[in-house]
């Protein structure tokens, strides 16, 4: 249908096998149960990073994904705690709410380009944090804590998803959930990039005026893309709030927004799976360096600087070799 080569199919197969069967086996063998939480975080951050990557696909640098992740986390938390919704319904609702906010904010700010857009989105993260502090429904600095674990779902009496609260190993359950959502996100992203819309996005990335002059409705496309991107952000944030069982205005800050951007840049902006790899390397690397105590930040940032110094086009650019620019 999309013309996968057998090599690609094998690659996807190995990848799916690794995350669903390989990782639990390895963790079971080594006994490092804390890695579940790390890998779950990687999967969720990768979802939000996918959104940042998508905005880059239309030539905008988005440093505001933390804002939408925070919005998503709050919407889901409020729906579950105050309105008594099921988490599984609040999850898409959180994504949709983030997307609607993105459309409203995007209408004015998507006219900005380059550094201006980057700076205004950075400011946006700060705005959402301050709003969360000021609004009564978000409970100010105290945040919303004691969010119940996701409840089970049953359709026509047949249980589809089990109740998380009754489970012995919620870590594993959350790991699988996060992985499934991440795979769906990236599958959607891959499909989007290889569709007509994806081609239009690439034309906008190169030159908006030119794209507009040959009949591409650029203002419509950039709103759609920004909304999808924020949907991913809201989804990732909502899931995160559910795992942590609490949301605070400081759950997603400017530093998180910058990290989402770093994930994309590090993985390579030209590759759909770049943000996933970037998130894995950055977050996992950060976690592994924990043993170095106070030197953690120093080593982490040094490695980061060295990577960008010698591989300025991202980690995935190694395999193209020389002369393979763009």
């Amino acid at each position: 249908m999309l013309g996968f080569t057998s090599k690609q199919l094998i690659g996807v197969g190995i990848f799916l096998f690794m995350i669903f069967i390989g990782v639990p086996l390895i963790i079971g063998a080594t006994g490092r149960w804390d890695f579940y939480f790390t890998l779950t975080s990687v999967a969720l951050l990768a979802i939000a990073s996918a959104g940042v990557w998508l905005t880059f696909y239309i030539g905008r640098i988005n440093i505001g994904q933390g804002a939408f992740a925070l919005i998503g986390a709050y919407v889901s938390a409020i729906l579950v705690v105050k309105a008594g919704w099921s988490f599984w319904i609040s999850l898409p609702a959180a994504g949709l709410f983030a997307a609607i906010v993105a459309i409203l904010i995007g209408l004015p700010i998507l006219r900005l380009r380059g550094v201006y857009f980057a700076m205004i989105t950075l400011v946006l993260t700060q705005v959402v944090t301050l709003t969360a502090l000021a609004l009564p429904i978000t409970n100010g600095a105290k945040g919303i804590s004691n969010i119940p674990l996701p409840s089970g779902i049953s359709l026509f009496g047949i249980p589809i998803l089990p109740d998380f609260a009754g489970m012995e190993n919620t870590k594993l359950a959350f790991y699988y959930t996060a992985c499934v959502i991440m795979i769906l996100t990236y599958a959607a992203l891959y499909r989007l990039v290889n569709s007509r819309l994806g081609h239009l996005c690439r034309s906008m990335q190169q030159n908006e005026e030119l794209a507009s002059s040959i009949g591409v409705n650029i203002s419509y496309i950039r709103i759609v893309i920004f909304a999808i991107s924020s949907f991913f952000g809201g989804l990732g944030g909502a899931m995160f709030g559910s795992i942590a069982q609490s949301v605070y205005p400081s759950s997603f800050q400017v530093a998180d927004s910058v990290n989402f951007m770093l994930n994309c840049f590090l993985g390579g902006l030209g590759y759909v799976f770049g943000p996933m790899l970037g998130t894995l390397v950055l977050y996992f690397g950060w976690d592994l360096l924990f043993e170095f105590g106070k030197y953690q930040m120093l080593i982490y940032s040094t490695v980061l600087i060295l990577i960008i110094r010698f591989l300025p086009n991202g980690l995935l650019s190694i395999r193209i070799g020389k002369g393979g620019d763009k």
Partner: protein, 289 residues
């Protein structure tokens, strides 16, 4: 009212200096320097070490802040930014580098200076008091005057010296400047060093009043971004206007809305977004700078 205006001038002059350094680096290299706030913090700590710890005269400590940051800026440009800009397929890679440097400087500050809030003894004692309508400590007035003098000196440098002319040419059009015989690599380095030096100078000046701590870097960078956006990226007059406007907005907001806490900043952010929706390039900026 007089008090609010005086506070506005004081805040505005500090902010304008921070924004000047950021906008200079942006104009020359098209680099959004995320590490600007951290450079400011380092400047503060250097002055703290020399003046507060070792008892060196304040002016000398200030000069040391400038020199340290200028050298740091030059090294960062020469060994990190210049090669990355040359080797990267996309200009935006420099953002990742800048963010990496911001993390790195944060780590260095934490290891070398620790995470405590540091302050230095007052440089001048006493408070200026005009009929209880305008109260301002003398050291604040001195810092404000020093900041304004530095801004004037900076503008003079940019307008009337050979270096300044070369830097302005570079900001206008890199290729054309190169064709006119400007040594592009060298002046990029000088420009970056100058921008970093300005950050260090403000840090050194402000340590006498607000003190300095590790966490100041990030918020300072964000404020600098806002000023640059208000005034227009890469334009020197824009940075000064942006600094003054933000300084006054903060002074007025904090005076009028002080019982609501952070609402001042929220209002500033929201009005900035509305302003940018109407005028995306800022007050003085070129479209799509």
């Amino acid at each position: 009212m007089e008090q609010i205006l005086a506070n506005g001038v004081y805040l505005g002059s500090q902010y304008a200096m921070i924004a000047l350094g950021l906008t200079l680096i942006f104009a020359l290299m098209n680099v959004l320097n995320f590490a600007h706030g951290q450079m400011y913090v380092i400047g503060g700590f250097v002055t703290y070490t020399f003046y507060g710890q070792w008892g060196v005269p304040f002016v000398l400590a200030l000069v040391m802040s400038c020199v340290t940051l200028a050298i740091l800026g030059a090294l960062i440009e020469r060994f990190l930014f210049a090669p990355v800009i040359k080797g990267s397929a996309r200009e935006e890679s420099t953002m990742l580098l800048a963010a990496g440097i911001a993390f790195f400087l944060d780590a260095v500050i934490l290891l070398v200076f620790g995470e405590k809030q540091r302050g230095v003894p007052k440089i001048v004692d006493g408070v200026f008091n005009y009929d209880f309508r305008l109260i301002m400590p003398y050291d604040r007035i001195l810092i404000c005057v020093l900041a304004i003098l530095s801004i004037v000196a900076f503008i003079g440098l940019m307008q009337y010296t050979k270096t300044g002319r070369a830097l302005r040419a570079l900001a206008q059009d890199r290729t054309a400047a190169q064709l006119m015989g400007v040594n592009v690599d060298r002046y990029s380095m000088i420009g970056f060093a100058l921008g970093a030096m300005l950050a260090g100078l403000v840090g050194g000046l402000l340590v006498t009043i607000t003190g300095v701590n590790l966490g100041m870097g990030g918020p300072t960078s964000i404020k600098a971004f806002m000023m640059v956006m208000i005034g227009g990226a890469g334009v020197i007059s824009g940075a000064i206007w942006g600094g003054i406007i933000l300084g006054f907005m903060e002074a007025i907001g904090l005076a009028v809305l002080y019982q609501y806490g952070d609402i001042t900043y929220l209002l500033i952010f929201v009005s900035l977004m509305i302003f940018l929706a109407i005028r995306p390039q800022g007050l003085m900026g070129k479209p799509w700078g």
